[in-house]
């Protein structure tokens, strides 16, 4: 057994580590944020606060009792993150644009900054998460009891609650900057996310592969019913559970806190949309094996909610049990910390502050006290929330299965869904509709699910539960209107969320939003549009044209203001002086000013000179909202411009490459033109001579001359044809449009045949050709005709330009394990290293003067042919600096 002292030391040490992490990150965040902590991975890990001890312990219990049903709790969030990320993105965008601090803030802000709505949402949230907090207390208490033996559960739970309250106060309200983001807490939560994942997977691997003989062994002989459980897959309860978990991941105050409020960059959501489902997959993969092995190995009557802990203990693996305990502890603490911070923010901002401000205003106290008051109220709220959790645990007797308790909280926060979705997608949604829906929904939730969960110990007596209040069976909490065929949970969801949504829509349609509601509605629904806000008309009233001009001049500058007023005056038929101050002029001015200072400010300014001396609250709020929008827009602009800069850089590079190619093409065309014009010049000139009537009659021009001229014309025509063929050939080869037909062949044969072909000219020029062919076969994939063409071209060049006294050519073939080489070496000296760079260029000068008489396309074509056969043609140098040509081809592997 693990000693209680060891357990306490480990837990305290773990908490200390978390605290140090949070402390360091907070300190650093103030001066220089740590780069990797701003990563989307940390963000995703913090979202995994979704996996509480309900997951860590309860999922196994749920699997043992109801089979695969536990999957639904993770299916909902997965569907939301994969398929509905655009909804989350809109929430995040709104949260950033309006500096939203909590879900209550978002809902109240949307419905005209209604403080009553904020209080209502806060109350529902606090009550709804109470069972959830109790669940964490219960799981820590139970797991502690497993190790410490039989203890008084209530006492343990009390100390756990007190410890967690202290812990959360230290974490969440340590610094005086009471702003909405907590970098330190997020880092600690991310660390806890890793700990719980590691612990659960470690237990899963141990149970699956060491207690049992792998997954096949576990699932062998298990009936389908046992795995599917009592629940009917895709039945009402499955669908309800999936809906609830999908709702919870959006509406739970702590999920809203980590997903929306703590979001640093909107694009982090993109990563979370696949990484968070992956995390959930990791958390759930071993749930079923643990449950099945637990059912088989553990004695009957042992609590399946604790298998994760009791299985390693039963197998005498104490260190694993300790890790499991720590994982469960992690799951519980991370949930409690974030949930309590989120709830305390709501309580202090929406309940305590409005009251305090009213009192302070009366007593004329200094505003510096506000911050301290804020922190104090948050600390007290945290203690209060954990106190409520403990109370729930105490009253409900701490006996229910973990999963059942968690679901009560899920249904509670699901009441936010109608007014939340309606608020960000439907302009017509009104405050009255939201309040009515929330009131009905939460009341039904309390009556049908929350109060019955105490099992008749709190407010509702057992008699009411079984036969309805005053004996009216139609009002029985768990079968309202006689709907008794349903599962209690499905029943509660259908009644509370269903009526909530219907009432919300009906009341919204029947009521009219006030100005601020309408404005906020427009801003929220159209958050992706950068500017908004309709302009309300202002009466010209006592406005004076001179005042208007001064205002315009101050905002627009003297010249533009003068131009504007001249134009207005001209339209009124006034040639000299200022225009008359009519309503039309006022709204024209407002429109012009809005372009510079935003619609709201412009509205406020113009109404001031139009006679309404005081700027209303509405206008001030408009100004503030627009400023926030401008900030958000400029942040997006900065991102966009960085993106554009990168794109521009790539375009510049591409453009440079294209320009270089274009210049090459121009050069080539110019060369082609030059090469074609030269033979054409001779042809034209000599044909003009021959057809000239005077020369025709002139007997001093000999017949030999005439036939010499004809021969020149003939030769130049051939040269022209060859040139055209070559140009077409090389452009096709380079464009790759004429794929050569390649077949396996022996390179030695091609060399042999080429040498025989040039035998005529070598003999005539008295050049000695020696062949040193490799004794091995040289299998290559090549086009026999083309390879011969290359060899003949190089051989005949070597014959033509060999200036040695005793000209010799050596043809040598060889190979290594990958390449076949054909070297053609002559003793004519070849080209210099400087010229070597240009011999393969089309029509290169070096070509013309040194290597060829014609167009100088022979070598470029030869090289292009070799490239088309996956080989190469290069100019190599021997040790004594004379050059020779080398053909290479890949060696064909014969299997």
């Amino acid at each position: 057994m693990i000693s209680v002292n060891l357990l306490l030391v480990v837990c305290l040490g773990y908490v200390a580590i978390l605290f140090v992490v949070a402390f360091i990150v907070d300190q650093r965040a103030r001066h220089r944020p740590i780069r990797w902590l701003q990563s989307p991975v940390i963000y995703t890990l913090s979202i995994s606060v979704y996996c509480t001890s309900w997951t860590f312990y309860g999922a196994v219990g749920s699997a043992a009792r109801n089979g695969l049903e536990f999957i639904t709790i993770y299916l909902g969030p997965t569907l939301v993150f994969v398929g509905w990320w655009w909804l989350l993105r809109k929430l995040v965008r709104i949260g950033r644009a309006h500096r939203i601090t909590s879900i209550a803030d978002l809902i109240s802000s949307r419905y005209g900054k209604s403080s009553s709505l904020a209080v209502l949402v806060t109350l529902i949230a606090v009550v709804a998460i109470t069972p959830y907090i109790a669940l964490q207390l219960q799981s820590v208490t139970n797991s502690y009891a497993v190790i410490a033996g039989d203890t008084d559960g209530v006492t343990t739970a009390f100390w756990v609650a007190a410890g967690m309250a202290l812990f959360t106060i230290l974490f969440g309200t340590r610094n005086l900057d009471a702003n909405e983001r907590h970098h330190g807490v997020v880092a600690a939560i991310a660390l806890e996310a890793i700990v719980k994942l590691t612990a659960l997977i470690a237990v899963g691997v141990f149970v699956t592969f060491f207690v049992a003989d792998g997954a096949a062994d576990i699932f062998d002989g298990i009936s389908q019913e046992a795995i599917r459980g009592s629940g009917d897959i895709f039945g009402a309860r499955w669908v309800t559970l999936t809906f609830l978990s999908a709702t919870a991941v959006i509406c739970l105050p702590r999920q809203f806190q980590v997903t929306v409020v703590e979001n640093i960059e909107e694009r982090h959501l993109a990563t979370a949309s696949w990484l968070f489902p992956l995390y959930l997959f990791g958390m759930t993969i071993f749930i079923m094996p643990i449950a099945l092995v637990g059912l088989e190995v553990m004695p009957a009557g042992s609590n399946p909610d604790l298998y994760v802990l009791t299985l390693p203990l039963a197998e005498q693996r104490n260190e694993l049990a300790l890790l499991a305990f720590l994982g469960g502890f992690s799951s519980a603490t991370s949930m409690v910390i974030v949930a309590a911070i989120a709830a305390s923010t709501m309580v202090s901002n929406h309940v305590v502050m409005p009251i305090a401000l009213r009192l302070l205003a009366r007593s004329n106290a200094v505003s510096g006290d506000v911050r301290n008051l804020l922190l104090t109220s948050r600390r007290i709220s945290i203690a209060l929330i954990l106190g409520l959790g403990f109370l729930y645990f105490y009253i409900s007797g701490g006996s229910d299965a973990l999963a059942a308790i968690g679901l009560i909280a899920f249904v509670g926060v699901a009441q936010f869904l109608p007014c939340l979705l309606g608020g960000i997608f439907w302009r017509g949604a009104t405050k009255a509709g939201a309040i009515a829906g929330l009131l009905i929904g939460s009341a039904l939730w309390a009556y049908t699910l929350f109060l019955p969960s105490f099992g008749g110990h709190f407010i509702l007596t057992p008699e009411v539960l079984t036969s309805g209040p005053w004996g009216i069976s139609l009002l029985r909490p768990q079968s309202l209107m006689g709907l008794s065929d349903f599962d209690p949970l499905v029943h509660a969801v259908v009644w509370s969320v269903g009526l909530n949504a219907i009432i919300f829509v009906v009341v919204s349609s029947l009521t009219k939003p006030d100005i601020l509601e309408r404005l906020q509605g427009t801003l929220f629904v159209g958050v992706y549009r950068s500017t908004g806000g309709a302009m309300s008309s202002i009466s010209a009233g006592a406005a004076d044209a001179e005042d208007m001009f001064i205002l315009a001049q101050r905002i627009l500058g003297l010249e533009p203001a003068r131009r504007l007023f001249d134009e207005i005056a001209a339209s009124q038929g006034i040639t000299v002086g200022l225009p008359h101050a009519t309503d039309a002029v006022i709204s024209r001015l407002e429109r012009e000013l809005a372009g510079s200072v935003g619609a709201a400010s412009a509205h406020a300014m113009v109404s001031r000179i139009a006679g309404r001396q005081t700027v209303g609250m509405t206008e001030l709020i408009d100004i503030a909202d627009e400023t926030q929008q401008v900030i958000e827009t400029s942040r997006q602009l900065a991102e966009k411009s960085a993106e554009l800069e990168r794109a521009a850089e790539q375009l510049r590079e591409a453009n440079m490459r294209l320009r270089a190619l274009d210049a090459q093409k121009d050069e080539f065309l110019s060369q082609v033109s030059h090469e074609l014009r030269t033979p054409m010049t001779s042809i034209r000139s000599f044909s003009e001579i021959l057809k000239d009537s005077e020369i025709l009659k002139d007997t001093s021009v000999s017949n030999e001359d005439r036939s010499r001229f004809v021969a020149i014309i003939y030769d130049e025509s051939l040269r022209l044809t060859r040139l055209l063929d070559e140009i077409l050939d090389i452009s096709r080869l380079e464009a790759g449009s004429s794929a050569l037909k390649l077949e396996p062949m022996n390179a030695n044969n091609a060399v042999h045949s080429a040498v025989e072909t040039v035998a005529g000219i070598t003999l005539k020029a008295d050049v000695k050709v020696t062949s040193e062919l490799s004794p091995d076969d040289l299998p290559v994939r090549a086009n026999a005709d083309r390879l011969r063409q290359v060899l003949i071209n190089i051989l005949s060049n070597a014959v033509k330009y060999n200036g040695a006294e005793v000209p010799e050519i050596l043809v040598r073939t060889s190979h290594d394990d990958r390449t076949v080489k054909i070297d053609i070496i002559d003793n004519g000296g070849g080209v210099t290293r400087e010229e070597a760079n240009t011999v393969f260029e089309k029509f290169a000068r070096g070509n013309r003067s040194v290597l060829s008489s014609g167009a100088g396309l022979g070598l470029p074509i030869s090289r292009a042919i070799m490239h088309a056969m996956d080989g190469d043609l290069t100019l190599e140098f021997t040790r004594d600096h004379s050059s020779f040509f080398r053909l290479t081809l890949p060696l064909l592997k014969t299997t």
């Binding site: 033109s673 014009r677 010049t681 001779s682 042809i683 000139s685 001579i689």
Partner: protein, 125 residues
């Protein structure tokens, strides 16, 4: 009227046809196929007219023309530039270097013979 014409041209067939035509017109013709040689002969004072190809081995036509214009002896030597390139920039370069005339290949025989006749008349006057 006999004029001494220097042909700086490396394409043998073209110089053959030009030699034939100019000798028939009564001129005295000398051919150089290399840039350096052509410059040397031109500076020697022998030719009265120079027909200069742009693409010549060892020294190109533009460079030859520039050097001739820098020399007092050949500052005013009439020069006809021949080129197979024929783009606008080539004509401009030729004129900037001080060519009297610019003829693009392929030319008509009459064009070049008449041009030399005109230049010869101008020189003698």
């Amino acid at each position: 009227m006999t004029t001494r014409v220097l042909l700086a041209e490396d394409e043998p067939n073209i110089s053959t046809s030009l030699t034939f035509l100019l000798e028939r017109a009564g001129h005295e013709v000398k051919v150089e196929t290399d840039g350096d040689k052509a410059l040397e002969t031109a500076l020697s004072g022998w030719p009265a007219i120079l027909v200069l190809d742009v693409m010549l081995p060892s020294l190109d036509g533009y460079e030859i023309l520039r050097r001739l214009r820098d020399d007092v002896r050949t500052k005013n030597l009439p020069v006809i530039m021949l080129t197979a390139k024929g783009q606008r920039e080539d004509r401009e370069t030729a004129m900037k270097c001080g060519a009297n005339l610019f003829i693009t290949k392929p030319f008509s025989n009459a064009e070049i013979v008449d041009a030399i006749k005109d230049l010869a008349t101008a020189v003698s006057e």
